[in-house]
Subunit: 215 residues, 2 copies
Amino acid sequence: MSSGTGETDVRPAKQPLGSWRDYGEPELPVPLAAALEAFAEQGYHGTSVREIAARANLSVPGLYHHYPSKQSLLQGLLERTMTDLLARSEAAIREAGPEPVKQFDAVVESLLRFHMYRREQAFVGSTEIRSLDDDYRPKYIGHRDRQQRMVDEIVFAGVEAGDFTTPYPKDAARAVATMCVGVSTWFKLDGLLGPDELIQRNLQLARALVGYRPR
Amino acid sequence: MSSGTGETDVRPAKQPLGSWRDYGEPELPVPLAAALEAFAEQGYHGTSVREIAARANLSVPGLYHHYPSKQSLLQGLLERTMTDLLARSEAAIREAGPEPVKQFDAVVESLLRFHMYRREQAFVGSTEIRSLDDDYRPKYIGHRDRQQRMVDEIVFAGVEAGDFTTPYPKDAARAVATMCVGVSTWFKLDGLLGPDELIQRNLQLARALVGYRPR
């Protein structure tokens, strides 16, 4: 927010990621963090720009200086969410090397972590597609399709290589993604089982979905 | 709406169900159908009672006569949704007889069908828990827990009987429910695969999650 122009705030996050496994507090510009809170509590249509400005400790004109509309806040937020998710998934897959089973474990773990540590962003992302303007919605859906395609392609490769035995690779890949995304609806950081234990269990379940057969 | 009192409209649906597999148009009282549409499009906080009245072709006082507040519309809608879901699941399990595998297939099929044919209700149910008043929220969450417990108990019984081999019955049962609920986010009635084919595939995937072993 120190640059005095809106430019720096609407770009997708580009800072070096560290590991795809590392999650600190989400590094959102103040207006987007305020919009996230408000949208998660009241939904997009139930939130006014005035409320977002108040949560961000900005005047309405001050907020508009960076984000010219409520819609630009939603788009900025969802774009960052998807850019972060995709960058982490890609890094995880890259790090895993060429074997489909390792790539599968990596992308599943990455999806699980993201939906454990970015629950609010995942919630707003999945509930407010309805509220996106037509000019941006296709781009957002393109991001989502790209994430699903990463999973699909790894499952297809695993079937091809004889590691996965499911007769329905595409349905299995969708079920895997659904299971990982669903974690955001029930996971609690202070729950009985820590993230690592839950990741281990859900990895096993994901492997069961694709009919993993050890060689 | 013909009785002239609100009483008939706020009760959960009690008409005989026919089969748990039968889905016609949802039989919602006009105000609840209007509220469902509006909440699905704009969210609870983004919707005014005036808008719901307009969609229902009622005056605002006319709407208030049956539902004294926007909150009562949300509660009436979610209560019917859960009552319908639970009644169908229970009927499916009853019809399946005592064997865990048959009960499992039945409850999975019932969950899948519901989330294919009642997508909007499922969406509002999952997104607007945040908007429920504190006096009703525990009841709603109790309904959801009861649905999850039905799946849990069948999976435990299947493990006990040696039909299911998963080392994580509770996690597997949650993944099964998550997968079934998730169908509402992507299923299209006019999609390439009909509901029956998708149910068959997802039943197989659900069985994989619990480590089904044919005897």
